[in-house]
């Protein structure tokens, strides 16, 4: 399966701490994206990193990509209670840039 797999499945931290989530995949990718989903809502795109990139930043988010290990990590710095959500990685691969394959997600709980 080309599916991305997030690790851990659930993460609970205190406000102000950093949160790190990991994603592993099994095939060569075109790009890898991270999405966020608040409970009962649609997904919101956070950041996209291409296969030839190693690191990207967006505000308090930092994403790294290691294609040799087929893995990516999402770091949220100085977490806030409002960051509580599920976080999903999604990949595109082969000739299918228009199809995303999602992992099962990491549920992040930030305690105030």
């Amino acid at each position: 399966s080309q599916q991305g797999e997030e690790d851990p499945q659930a993460l609970s931290i205190q406000e102000g701490e950093n949160a790190t989530m990991n994603c592993s995949y099994k095939t060569s990718i075109n790009n890898l994206q991270w999405y966020r989903q608040n409970s009962g809502r649609g997904l919101v795109h956070l950041i996209l990193i291409r296969s030839n990139e190693r690191e990207k930043h967006s505000g308090r988010l930092r994403v790294t990509l290691d294609t040799s290990k087929k893995s990516s990590s999402l770091l949220i710095t100085a977490s806030r209670a409002a960051d509580t959500a599920s976080y999903f990685c999604a990949i595109t691969s082969g000739g299918s840039n228009y199809k995303l394959t999602f992992g099962k997600g990491t549920l992040l709980t930030v305690n105030p």
Partner: protein, 111 residues
């Protein structure tokens, strides 16, 4: 700006009844459109995608079908619902084939 709508927001249907979920996108033209299903506590499963009017690709064999009667309208249907069809259905669109923008979702409970 572009917006995506889904309705209804919540639906409770008996087994064997028909289904019609609608998704519309505003503020763009010729988008790629997608239907996903999300089981409780799980990731997203791609059900159908469309690159144009009348063009539907199915990813998973099931008793669901999709149609795209207009450029910015995507409909998910079933003639007879099963218990296993319960879930959270998400519609998404993309203008440039990479980042996808999701609607608010429809929660379907089949009893």
């Amino acid at each position: 700006s572009q917006t995506i709508h889904q309705w209804p927001a919540t639906l409770v249907q008996p087994v064997g009844s028909p289904l019609s979920l609608e998704c519309t996108v505003e503020g763009t033209s010729n988008p790629n459109l997608y239907w996903y299903r999300q089981a409780a506590g799980r990731g997203l499963q791609l059900l159908f995608y469309s690159v144009g009017i009348g063009q539907i690709s199915s990813e998973v064999p099931q008793n669901l079908s999709a149609s795209r009667p207009q450029d910015r309208q995507f409909i998910l249907s079933s003639k007879k619902l099963l218990l296993s069809d319960s879930g959270f259905y998400l519609c998404a669109w993309t203008p440039r084939l990479e980042t996808q923008y999701f609607g608010p979702g429809t929660r379907l409970l089949v009893l």
